[in-house]
Amino acid sequence: MGLESKLGNMGIITARLEDVVNWGRTNAMWPLGFGLACCAIEMMSAQASHYDMSRFGMELMRASPRQADLMIVAGRVTRKMAPVLRRLYDQMPDPKWVLSMGDCASCGGVFNNYAIVQGVDEIVPVDVYVAGCPPRPEALIDGILKLHEQIRRSHPIKSDQEPIKV
């Protein structure tokens, strides 16, 4: 197939380090499913066999934040739950991303009152918002793929030095 032609005689391929790092980050991104309310059902069904998320590398939902890369906030966040959410976000090691699933996590949804935080981006910085009440499993997978594209386009290795000119 295509890769053997690039390997040549020595079995070495060259690529940019950024591309390899980004490829590694997107290919096995384990979600910390923060399923709070009705969106959790759609997240579970996205993880199940019909709309499979394991095809995209998200084989299992880690319950521990120390072992997760992506936090999917699925559902309404109450003001009592907000410090807990922030604490779990802080416990995740870098690199980490947040996907806000559903209307209640993105903007407060239908609830505009004393109990619900109006958008989880008041607490944690969000990368992708998935709209819907609840979003279909296909919509959640679409949001995750957009996050993958965003990561592939990013530049994780920063160099603030000028390249050496000869």
Partner: protein, 169 residues
């Protein structure tokens, strides 16, 4: 005799104005002898209201008396329901707690305290149950602050955007 007649004959001035609407019976009780009435309702062999289903309260803000605390009782053996209404008023309304009669009233009364601010005397552990502990105010009162956020349309988008507390890292 009918259940209402049995109760009103036992407590003539305390229990008044029975209302019957579509099979639901409501009695208004004076708050000072509430424990006596409830103990009678629970222990009398003809009535046996041994389950307190719910304790809730209503705020009728501009009217006086302002708060109405409703106790929903259910008798398991006789399959009968009853509602007791207690009218309260004032800046810091308080009523005696039902936990000595029905221990299941504990969390219901904590909910009423949390959301409406009605104090229950004699409650063993009256603190907030739904809202965070450092929340100020009782939100379900009609004159409480409305935590309402304006929807962002095009004409006020920038204004709300500048005031919204976004998290930075």
């Amino acid at each position: 005799m009918r259940m209402i007649d049995l109760i009103t004959s036992q407590f003539p001035e305390v229990v008044s104005s029975p209302i019957e609407f579509r099979g639901e019976t409501t009695l208004v009780v004076q708050p000072d002898r509430l424990i006596e009435v409830c103990t009678f309702l629970r222990d009398n062999p003809a009535l046996q209201f041994d389950l307190l289903s719910d304790v809730s309260a209503i705020d009728h803000f501009p009217d006086h008396p302002r708060y109405a605390v409703n106790y929903h009782l259910y008798s398991l053996d006789n399959n009968r329901e009853l509602r007791l209404k207690v009218w309260l008023d004032g800046e810091q309304p308080h009523v005696v707690s039902m936990t000595s009669v029905w221990p299941g009233a504990n969390w219901h009364e904590r909910e009423v305290w949390d959301l409406l601010g009605i104090y229950f005397d004699g409650h063993p552990d009256l603190r907030r149950i739904f809202l965070p502990e450092d929340f100020l105010g009782h939100p379900l009162r009609k004159d409480a602050a409305q935590f309402y956020e304006e929807p962002q349309f095009t004409h006020n988008f920038d204004l709300i955007e500048s005031q919204k507390p976004y998290a930075k890292e």
